[in-house]
């Protein structure tokens, strides 16, 4: 191609400090095909874009190279700019001379040399660019929310209120999530259930919302605007239409040995159960691992007592296939397993508990009916020690490297509530730092210390040892006093780190959404697109994206909802034109490409081909460009190079290689 323009951005001093931009311009001008090169302070600015547009028009440019930040940042900006100036937006290439050059190199000579090479590679590539035109695809006006916690509920409500159909898939028998297990919420100390249940009811009652509880996403295919999802509705063994929610079955069920998930395993539930009293839907499920009838064929008590005749032991899992335009992941979190923290005697003593367990103990609907009791002997504890950062902010492989964010505040809440209700109890908190950035957070913490006399000790706990008398000795340090401490306690509460729900891995894989090393879902941009996943049409809500508290979760849920609504409001979407394209003239029709296509986008047809004057009917590959996502697997599988990827063609990449290795 002849007629390439090169535009080098200073990015203030971000680039210009380590790259001699003038040199880059000068070197670019020597490249074959380049007819224009210039530099500017901020190419992405209005004025910078105007410079590009002017050059395109005046110099009759056919393609442009912008040497600037990562294409993940501004490729779209410059494409739009090029399009406005009259050339195809895909005639733009970006040389990443900021993230991959100026920011990592200190030496100007070195940085400049590399920038020149990167520019050369981009010029070599743009040389072979061709105009591409995106196709269109229709948008299914329905959204799927995976996870029925507060994040999922709020997202669904917001989408539904905007007038779109939403389905919530929740794997447990009831929506509500972790928030339903909480007693009070910080920093306002209002009752968690009181604020959550109305939302649960709203969701259940909303005409645009369909709940799939006790269900899991089985398979996802398709792409933004047109996902096809298979949902497995696990067998409840209770007919949802017939059940009245009277609860007799649960009263009569003789199998009472299953640990209650809702009560964090602190007490047991029956084999047929609803997780909690306010469960929505208020229809029990039979736990097939616990039910005597399902395991041995004998019993059948619940069926006998069910007036509505809702019990159905023959029920099977059911697969529902539904189409969606957008998918929101709201899979939430779990408390980490404390297997690695033997030093705190969690597995040895029933009186070493996690904060979530304490939450259940404090709750009127909990195993102790809200009385503060030791789980070992039911005695009222006199001394309680809280240990912070158990598994959070951990540099070794035992725990998590990140801050779980909510622990400081809920510990303050717990301490305050205990001191308020039981002034006789001494509360000691061992902490590394107390982190209270949030509205009214620090005030809240200070009240705990100042008004409620909670004893905060800056320092870590090395060990908790159960004593023969049933008490616990906490071996810690007081960093401020610089001394070893031994504190006797009746109960120890561990602020265990939170981690993304383990199910998210499988879901992310199905959605092809990326995950970071801690299994949190990655956002499309950490700052500017925090509720979108890099996979188009997939959005993030709640803790699956990173630790956050309830108000943050709710606001993110709303943000995700508006993104979904924005997507569903469109009738058509433009598809990525960088799709695979076969050269029919040379295609063997061998099917190897179709074998590796993850989207089933390749089919074969018998076609009349005119091969340099020879006409014959041949079996050739055809790509459905609406299905093709442009991964390129087929292009490598094809031995004759017949299948090529537009925008990343074989010759383009080869040209880049050549330019780099010159």
């Amino acid at each position: 191609m002849h007629g390439i323009g090169v535009f080098v951005c200073h990015c203030g001093s971000n680039i210009a400090a380590t790259v001699d931009v003038e040199k880059v311009v000068e070197m670019a001008k020597l490249e074959p095909g380049v007819v224009h090169a210039e530099e500017y302070q901020y190419m992405c600015s209005e004025a910078g874009q105007e410079k590009i547009a002017t050059a395109i028009r005046e110099k009759n440019l056919k393609g442009i190279v912008v040497c600037s930040c990562s294409p993940r940042m501004h490729e779209a900006t410059f494409r739009k700019c090029a399009e406005k100036a009259g050339i195809n937006p895909y005639m733009v290439e970006i040389a990443n001379i900021r993230e991959q050059c100026s920011w990592i190199h200190k030496d100007v000579e070195e940085g400049t040399e590399k920038a020149v090479i990167l520019t050369r590679a981009a010029i070599a590539k743009v040389n072979l660019n061709t105009s591409l035109v995106p196709g269109e695809s229709l948008v299914t006006k329905r959204a799927l929310v995976i996870g029925g916690g507060i994040a999922g509920i709020q997202t669904a409500l917001d989408i539904a209120d905007a007038g779109y159909e939403v389905d919530i898939v929740e794997k447990t028998p009831s929506i509500g999530g972790k928030m339903s297990q909480l007693d009070k919420t910080f920093p306002t100390l209002d009752c968690s259930a009181c604020i959550l249940t109305p939302k649960m009811v709203d969701a259940a009652a909303h005409e645009k919302i369909t709940l799939y509880t006790y269900s899991e996403v089985e398979k996802v295919s398709g792409f933004v605007g047109d996902f096809t999802v298979e949902i497995r509705k696990k067998a409840r063994y209770v007919n949802m239409d017939k059940c009245t929610g009277c609860g007799v079955c649960m009263e009569k069920c003789p199998s009472k040995k299953a640990p209650s998930e809702f009560n964090a395993g602190l007490n047991n539930r029956t084999a047929i159960y609803t997780p909690f009293a306010q469960a929505i839907p208020n229809v029990p499920v039979i736990d097939p691992n616990q039910c005597t009838k399902l395991k041995t064929g004998k019993c059948g008590v619940c069926e006998k007592f069910c007036q509505a005749g809702a019990i159905d032991y023959t029920q099977q899992d059911e697969i529902v296939t539904q189409k969606y335009g957008a998918i929101v992941v709201a899979t939430g979190f779990d408390v980490i397993k404390l297997d690695n923290y033997d030093e705190y005697a969690y597995s040895q003593s029933k009186d070493v508990i996690t904060s979530l367990e304490l939450e259940r103990i404090m709750n009127a609907a909990g195993p102790t009916k809200g009385h503060l009791e030791r789980m070992s002997d039911g005695k009222h504890p006199k001394n309680i020690v809280f240990i912070q950062c158990v598994g959070s902010r951990c540099n070794d492989s035992k725990g998590k490297p990140y801050c779980s964010k909510i622990c400081c505040m809920y510990t303050a809440k717990h301490a305050m509530l205990i001191r308020d209700k039981y002034p006789d109890v001494n509360v000691t908190v061992f902490y590394i730092d107390v982190r209270t950035p949030g509205k009214n957070f620090d005030e809240f913490y200070r009240r705990a210390v100042e008004e409620y006399g909670v004893n905060y000790v800056k320092g870590q706990v090395g060990k908790v040892t159960p004593e023969p008398d049933g008490s616990l000795t906490v071996h810690g340090v007081d960093l401020l006093e610089n001394k070893q401490l031994k504190v006797s306690a009746d109960m120890v509460v561990l602020a265990a780190a939170i981690e993304p729900n383990p199910a998210v891995r499988k879901i992310a894989t199905m959605l092809t959404a990326s995950i970071d090393t801690n299994n949190f879902l990655t956002e499309a941009h950490p700052k500017l697109r925090p509720v979108e996943s890099p996979t188009a049409g997939v959005f993030l809500s709640g803790v699956c994206q990173g630790p956050k508290d309830i108000p943050e979760t709710v606001s993110q849920a709303g943000a995700a909802a508006i993104k979904v609504v924005g997507l569903l409001a469109k009738d058509k979407l433009l598809t990525n034109p960088c799709t695979a394209k076969p050269d029919e003239l040379r295609c063997n029709g061998c099917s190897v490409c179709a074998n590796v296509c993850p989207y089933g986008a390749i089919s074969y047809e018998d076609k009349l081909i005119n091969d340099h004057g020879v006409r014959e009917t041949r079996r050739v590959a055809a790509v459905n460009s609406a299905l093709c996502q442009g991964c390129g697997a087929c292009t490598v599988a094809c031995p004759s190079g017949v299948m090529d990827l537009q925008g990343f063609s074989n010759r383009q990449i080869i040209a880049e290689v050549d330019a780099i290795c010159r």
């Binding site: 191609m1 002849h2 007629g3 074959p32 007819v35 056919k62």
Partner: protein
Amino acid sequence: MCDCNCHQNYNLDTLVPMVGIVTDIRQETPDVKTFRVNAPEGGKLFEHKPGQCAMVSVPGVGEAMFSITSSPTNKEYQEFSIKKCGVLTDYLHDLQVGDEIMVRGPYGNNFPVDTELKGKNLLFVAGGIGLAPLRSVINYVLDNRDDYGTVDIVYGSRSADDLVQLKEIQEVWMKAKDTNVYLTIDRPQEGWDGHVGFVPSYLSELELSTDKTVLVCGPPIMIKFVLGALTEMGFSKEQAYTTLELRMKCGVGKCGRCNIGSKYVCKDGPVFRCDEVDELPNEY
């Protein structure tokens, strides 16, 4: 042996090209441009005869044979009319005045302007870009007007927009002495008041006398039908000359590509008398 004068003014091997400067570019039709080429120091790269070709190349892009469309009587430059139809020609069409290309040649034989054609009445029949090689002869003849008899030019193309060298046709050829120009286009078109129809049928309609020597150039299918029409009109094969175009690489009759029978199109052609063409195995 080849009577060409490849590289006579040049001391390198015939396969090694010279650098030429594009000094003018004219957009003839939507997909044809005419490039004027000079030596870097000015003047022509080489001397040639009407009908000869040259290899034009861009390093790393490609090399192909094009007929030289300017007349040898032009002492200042050479011209190539090039249709956009592949990687190299796409690139050439992107060139701007002042850019460099590489040229080697001239190659092949030429229309026998100084022997057989001398003193004859001439009939030129061209279709589309096929005018390019004939233009060289036409201008040569017009510049040496007295050496030849009458000149008739029948030229047609798909549409009025696809007629190349229209300006020269109208301003020079149509005004030349004893010269008739007949233009035609394949399909009716708004703003075209000339003849409509394919070249062979137009030729038949014209009822020209058979005392002419014919020079034909155009797409193979057109040549075929023109020759048919000529035969019907009473012309013999010996009266007609045409040019063949095949894949050529070396230009000097050695690389083997353009070999048909015992002829090498690049060396023994591209100009053949039509009866000679008939003697070749049917592989062109």
